[in-house]
Symmetry: C2
Amino acid sequence: MPRYGAIEAGGTKFVCAVGTGPRDLTTTRIATTSPGQTLARCLEFFAAQGKVDALGVGSFGPVELRPESRRYGHITATPKPGWANADVVGPLSRALAVPIGFDTDVNAAVLGEARWGAARGLRDAVYVTVGTGIGGGALSGGRLAHGLLHPEMGHLLLPREADDQDFVGSCPFHGGRCWEGLAAGPALERRWGQPAETLPAGHRAWDLEARYLGSALATLVLVLSPERLILGGGVMQTPHLLPLVRAQLLRALGGYVQADEILAHVDEYVVAPGLGQDSGILGALALAEAAVATPV
Amino acid sequence: MPRYGAIEAGGTKFVCAVGTGPRDLTTTRIATTSPGQTLARCLEFFAAQGKVDALGVGSFGPVELRPESRRYGHITATPKPGWANADVVGPLSRALAVPIGFDTDVNAAVLGEARWGAARGLRDAVYVTVGTGIGGGALSGGRLAHGLLHPEMGHLLLPREADDQDFVGSCPFHGGRCWEGLAAGPALERRWGQPAETLPAGHRAWDLEARYLGSALATLVLVLSPERLILGGGVMQTPHLLPLVRAQLLRALGGYVQADEILAHVDEYVVAPGLGQDSGILGALALAEAAVATPV
């Protein structure tokens, strides 16, 4: 049975793993320092774990995913010190000499959910994380969506709610015009003057938050027509937020999309991750699988 | 050389064609009456034109595209009298006994543009029509995007411009919250009190229109990351609108997407259709080609 390596490359930590799936996974966490030091520590982990047949990497971005680019496998224009234009795939490929699958962290997450989690067997699904930032990955027709670059759906533009006209927003690029600027953790903290995780369940912050999330998911339904929407990330850990979001998605769609899967079964249409906190690392493992199936 | 049939099925007219591509195409127009009568007249045209190897149909919607559905090939919940739940592919398939490719009119259009027009050779592109309504089709990784249903991107939600707060919008489902409700032809007519085609080039209507179109295209870039955006439809015939839209797309993105293709070459990134008014019918022909390559 093939054995794979996986890296979930984040701005704070790199999670590394070796295994075959959710029930057979050895993991470790490495603090993100410089690219050279961080990748060297990943390689030490893999050396200690023995031979793998392929590696998958789900990375923070933006990343270069076009195989024909000479920067393929690099993190590109990140503001994170030391990481702009860092080659991630190159050093790993030279050291391990196995096929490597590489994509964004959120594209990896949706692939992981489609392989083992809440989107199992589906070919069109979206995974969204709502936390310090907002990001999304999409599987379209069984393929991870990317073209010119890759989706940056956390910055899609949103209508302002009538009772929230004055908030300046928290996005450095789009202020209060985009999803992340209106609804990520830092937007909640700036609007209400306290960290999102300290806002009690009945606080009106959550009704407003659910309206913005519902509007954004409506746009994703209208653009991508996914078979399921999976919502992860720190803000989504808030109890009772998910049911509010489902109701607000229905409100935002306004009856336009006539599909029983949404209108009659929204509880199964908008769901929490099936893999809990492991969508990303298991998604990276699924990228490794896919790299052997179709080497890049 | 294979010879194909094509139908662009619209609410007002059906365009039928036989041929092999843009330089070899015989077309006719049939008024849209009842489904039975309209399809019978299409079949008369094909009978007179001789044998085809496959047929492609790009249809107004919503349509059922899931091959496993018993309603595959039907128009579904349209308000158009007589056409709700009309079977389009069934009667054509029984009469012609050839493989049939079936998709939305706008998905057909993006496929046609990728085959012979402004998106030739690309695997990720979006075609948008701005006219009486707004619709969009997407090619994602070489495949037309659909999942649960199909994209209905004309209804994606948009932030309201500060100088346009009071407009009620023209969408029966979303009022002034969605793209179509703010920027389709009927929205222009309702906002300014005269038909869009009578608004002169210097009218401030066009600056506002370009801002809404720029915002919507920004959301499409952020969700789908296409390699090119193609804008067709009646409203886009307005001289000088396209350059305004390009500028407003850049404004809406706010420098977030770091790609020279957008930042330095927006004139080649947002373009008019390469096939003029024929994106739809040629796209249907491309659907026929694809149906033989991979029968559904």
